[in-house]
């Protein structure tokens, strides 16, 4: 006889765990079902060779929502940082180095640019700050809003309007721009341009010249970590530590987590989700089902077309999820020597690219189904600040490599080895001899990211971040308020508003929606 539950969460990604923790804290009986052996989804730490642990997928924390961290007491559940407010170093051609931390920048930058840098960054942070309240707001509907939704909409509008006339005009102008034009209007130094462009395009299928890339930059800068907006942090023990703390918060509150329990389908009775069926055939029922899986998987695979309106199903299949970023994890027998970088640079984030044009050019082949021969690389060597990952002297390097399209003409299984060679050759340019230090390597192409972590199309955010896939249109208008056309079924993952990044906001918002439904259900009963 199976136990009965109030809520089932499909998927133990960080959003699923967040939702579970909130629901359990509110007194619900919660079961989390995870297909893999490990929890955390893309927020994971794993051993890639004996004695070498690394954040296998996401590798930096910059958006974990402060409210989530506080409400769930993540610090008390073991989340510690090996570094907050990490510096970023951009390594360009022939050893040119730019170092940036907060509003400070030094190195390969012209005096004119240096004088403008802090004010420019402050302007972006100010705009992003106005977008912050949006993160924890359930998107109002486009039409037929009730009073509360109208108020929410007014609040969002007011957040922009209260910028004052000059700033509001500037905000409305830049929000639709591409990052290439934005930074080149103000800066002449290559590596400053690279710094902003990297943060704008990473994880998207856009190049710096693609309109919309300023919006993704602003989106990213809504993140706040350890009280600092726009900062980067390294969790002690890797990104898995975030998932572990969330899981600890959830289980402490009474939630149950089962791994290696893949859900085969969602049980629908009378147009209502009433439970799930596991691959093993086991059937478990609950009042509310939350899916941390992406919207397409949730509706097309787990619910099934026969329960869906044709228009809705079409909209869900249209969600744009072109993954362009690969992940390379290296186990190294010693610290690599990057030309021009010192130990403290390596404790932070390193971006390898010589110019914004180079990034745009790296994007070109990806448009045609080829990986970039000179990809943009963002890397960390977390073992410098966190020796617990490898033990002393040894290191792990974690790199996001862009651009590598999900739909590779040559097919990833055939091209994976060549791509690895390409990346290693690129790394070798910046860190001569690194190839000989490699003990083991793990390359996750967008296809692997989909297979391994369920990221649709290998896209980190479960769907491109663009105006037409944000707010009341994320993932599609008819499911933007977490509950879609199937009563009792809620989306709680990155595919829902406000999207990806290890943020926890989607999980938080979905849980709030479920709790409201529970309350009104109790009232009705």
């Amino acid at each position: 006889m199976t136990k009965s539950y109030d809520h089932i969460v499909i998927g133990a990604g960080h959003n699923g765990l967040t939702a579970a923790a909130y629901l359990a804290k509110a007194g619900g009986r919660v079961l989390v079902l995870e297909a893999r052996d490990a929890i955390g989804g893309a927020s994971a730490t794993a051993e890639i060779a004996p004695g070498y642990k690394v954040s296998t997928c996401a590798h930096l924390l910059n958006q974990l929502h402060p409210r989530v961290a506080k409400d769930l007491g993540l610090a008390s559940h073991g989340l510690k940082f090996a570094g907050t407010d990490l510096p970023t170093t951009v390594l360009g051609a022939s050893g040119a180095v730019l170092r940036a931390q907060g509003d400070n920048v030094e190195g390969a930058i012209s005096p004119a640019d240096r004088a403008k840098y802090a004010a420019f960054r402050k302007k972006l942070l100010k705009f992003s700050k106005r977008l912050q309240p949006m993160l924890l707001t359930t998107p109002p509907r486009l039409l037929n809003r009730d009073f509360k939704q109208n108020m929410d909409l007014l609040k969002l509008g007011w957040a922009i309007r209260s910028l004052g006339r000059t700033d509001m005009r500037e905000f409305l102008r830049v929000a639709g721009m591409n990052v290439y034009d934005l930074v080149r209007d103000d800066f002449e130094s290559d590596l400053v341009q690279v710094l902003f462009a990297n943060d704008a395009v990473l994880g998207t299928s856009m190049g710096p010249r693609s309109p919309g890339t300023v919006l993704t930059l602003l989106y990213r800068l809504t993140g706040e970590i350890a009280g600092r907006q726009g900062a980067l942090a390294l969790p002690q023990g890797g990104m898995g530590a975030v998932a572990d703390a969330l899981a600890a918060a959830a289980t402490k509150a009474g939630a149950e987590i089962r791994t290696a329990a893949p859900v085969a389908r969602i049980l629908i009775e009378n147009d209502r989700a009433v439970g799930v069926v596991l691959s093993s055939g086991e059937e478990i029922r609950a009042g509310h089902i939350l899916s941390n899986a992406d919207p397409r998987t949730t509706f097309v695979k787990l619910v099934g077309a026969r329960h869906l309106d044709a228009g809705f199903q079409r909209d869900v299949t249209k969600i744009r999820t072109k993954g362009m970023a690969a992940k390379l994890n290296l186990a190294l027998d010693s610290l690599p020597a990057f030309t021009g970088l010192n130990q403290s640079d390596l404790a932070g984030r390193v971006i390898l690219s010589e110019s914004i044009e180079q990034i745009e050019n790296a994007f070109n082949p990806a448009k045609y189904g080829e990986y970039s021969p000179t990809p943009l690389i963002e890397l960390t060597i977390p073992s410098v600040a966190d020796p617990s990952l490898t033990g002393p002297g040894k290191h792990v390097l974690s790199a996001i490599v862009q651009y590598a399209p999900y739909h590779l003409k040559a097919g990833w299984d055939a091209a994976r080895e060549d791509f690895l060679k390409t990346i290693m050759a690129r790394l070798e340019n910046f860190a001569p001899g690194i190839g000989k230090q490699v003990v083991a390597s793990q390359l996750l192409t967008p296809l692997d990211l989909e297979r391994e972590y369920g990221l649709p199309g290998g896209h980190w955010h479960h769907g491109e971040l663009a105006i037409d896939q944000l707010l009341m249109l994320r993932p599609v208008a008819a499911a933007s308020r977490y509950e879609g056309p199937i009563a009792g079924l809620y989306l709680c993952g990155a595919g829902a508003h406000p999207g990806g990044g290890v943020m926890g906001a989607a999980g938080h918002n979905a849980a709030r929606t479920v709790l409201e439904a529970r309350k009104s259900g109790e009232k009705a009963a």
């Binding site: 006339r165 000059t166 102008r173 309109p211 045609y368 037409d468």
Partner: protein
């Protein structure tokens, strides 16, 4: 500086482009004393016909008449003044494999042709055209409205915002989402949702890149497609057409209308500077030193030219000037005008076939189009360019001697400045022309032999002759940051310059380029409003 004894005018319009003329005509029609000043020896700006080769008339810049607002045609009685627009009868995209994809005016025949390339695409076509037309119909009433300032609390702006809100809501939830998608999607993503065949997609995608410094894979190009579809000829939305006698006849019809209202046009009268006294525009100084005074000064020049060439920077607020400098106006197109001794033949298209009486293309996949854009990004013209080609003489024989033909070849992409220190004025111009001619010749065996004469127009030429900065045919790129209330500069989208009594009426203002006339009409409405003269409202109100 001698002040010539010229009476003070009510309005001076700088530049006799089609928008300047539309603006002047509306103002003259309202009873104002209007003078249009044109630097060239002819009017029309980029809407011109000219005889470059004995016997042939070229529409040597703009070449298609589809966007001109019907309200303007009616108000200014352009047909009575000689304007005749003849719709295309078809069109085709030539394919590398020797086949082609033809378009037909007849819906059923067109679907039949589509089915030849893909059954699925033929099925999808009606959904596609319904989706596009719905959005066009939604946008059209906005073309002749002044954008509201979203930062303002003036009743007028709030009222307009409210109107926009209601107009938006009138679409219904699903189409509201679709509209937002239109403003942000790439034309490639949009077409992928409907079609599978490369050639069908490429055929439709052309409208998403014409005149644009973006490739079909760039977000925002779906809107550019809409921009090109907003026109209607004889009430048929999205139809394109020829102006009989070339595009110059559009300009001359508007000019005739202006003259009928007692307006005046002076050619060979370049304005050197807008005269500003006590913070107010009071007239203009011509290049020859003459001063002409007026109560209102309107500029048809693009926003960069207006404020960095003929306005004294000290008369402008600093942040305004900074925004003007940041305004993106990169040219991306070139043109060839060719006189032919006879009608060329194309890839197994029967002679005289209706598809030849419309727009012809030579790019059969979006990937080829995007690669053409990559060349532009690198500061080169496309090695495999997208070509939008017409032979207007099949429909309008007045443009060439009997039996001979005029071919208008629009070319995408060509950058305003070439990389590697090359000059458009050097050998590059010929190489560019050869690239384009070879592109056409690849699908037309007798084409090269028929060439009599051709004229090459690069962005550099367009800048020098027409006066469009960087050769941008829309007087500014059509990206979200430069549309509606952001066009041309946030806070100055209501046709008024930051200098009192000075206005803007060119395509740098809402709703942008194309031979549409809407910016000119909108600016006229604002001027009349400021002068408290009633009786002109080209807006079409919608029932809410």
């Amino acid at each position: 500086m001698a002040e010539r004894a010229d009476k003070t005018r009510d309005v001076i319009v700088i530049g006799a482009g089609h928008n300047g003329l539309v603006n002047a005509a509306y103002l003259a029609r309202a009873g104002l004393d209007v003078l249009v000043l044109e630097k060239n020896d002819h009017i029309g700006g980029a809407a011109v016909s000219s005889v470059m080769y004995e016997g042939w008339t070229y529409s040597n810049c703009s070449y298609v008449c589809s966007l001109l607002r019907p309200e303007i045609m009616r108000d200014l009685e352009l047909p009575r003044h000689g304007l005749q627009v003849i719709p295309y009868e078809g069109g085709a995209t030539m394919m590398r494999n020797g086949d082609h994809f033809a378009t037909y005016y007849d819906h059923d025949v067109f679907r039949e042709e589509m089915r030849r390339h893909s059954r699925k695409d033929a099925e999808a076509y009606d959904h596609y055209s319904t989706a596009v037309m719905k959005q066009c119909r939604w946008i059209k009433p906005l073309l002749l409205r002044t954008p509201p300032d979203p930062t303002s609390f003036r009743p007028r702006d709030l009222q307009e915002l409210l109107y926009l809100g209601k107009h938006f809501a009138s679409l219904g939830e699903r189409d509201m989402g679709e509209l937002i998608r239109f403003f942000t999607l790439s034309i490639a993503d949009f077409l992928d949702e409907y079609f599978e065949s490369d050639v069908v997609k490429a055929h439709f995608a052309g409208s998403g890149i014409i005149g644009t410094a973006l490739g079909p894979y760039s977000p925002g190009t779906a809107y550019v497609l809409l921009h090109h579809y907003m026109g209607d000829i004889d009430g048929s939305v999205g139809a394109w057409g020829f102006a009989r006698g070339g595009m110059g006849s559009v300009s001359s019809a508007i000019a005739a209308s202006l003259l009928s209202y007692k307006g005046e046009i002076r050619v060979n009268s370049e304005v050197a500077q807008v005269l500003v006294e006590n913070g107010k525009a009071t007239g203009v100084v011509l290049a020859n030193g003459d001063i002409i005074r007026a109560r209102k000064v309107v500029s048809n020049l693009d926003v960069k030219r207006t404020f960095t060439k003929i306005t004294d920077p000290k008369d402008l607020p600093g942040d305004f000037l900074e925004r003007v400098t940041k305004f993106k106006i990169r040219g991306s197109s070139g043109k060839l005008n060719i006189s032919l001794d006879g009608m060329p033949t194309f890839n197994n298209v029967p002679a005289g076939h209706s598809s030849l009486r419309g727009d012809l293309h030579f790019t059969d996949s979006m990937e080829r189009m995007e690669r053409a854009y990559d060349d532009w990004k690198a500061g080169d013209w496309s090695r495999d360019p997208y070509v939008d080609m017409l032979l207007p003489t099949q429909i309008d024989p007045t443009m060439a001697p009997p039996g001979k033909h005029y071919m208008s070849v629009f070319v995408q992409y060509a950058p305003p400045t070439l990389s590697g220190g090359r000059d458009w004025d050097g050998p590059a111009r010929q190489q560019f022309a050869d690239t384009v001619i070879n592109q056409i010749a690849a699908c037309s065996p007798n084409f090269k032999d028929l060439i009599n004469h051709y004229e090459v127009r690069t962005p550099w030429d367009i800048e020098n002759e027409v006066g469009l900065t960087e050769g941008n045919i829309f007087q500014g790129e059509l990206t979200m940051d430069q549309l509606i209330f952001n066009r041309p500069v946030p806070g100055y989208a209501q046709y008024k310059a930051p200098i009192a009594n000075m206005y803007m009426c060119g395509s740098s203002t809402h709703p942008g380029g194309g031979v549409m006339g809407a910016p000119g009409a909108n600016a006229a409405r604002e001027i009349l409003r400021d002068l408290r003269i009633h009786g002109m409202d080209p807006r079409q109100e919608i029932e809410l």
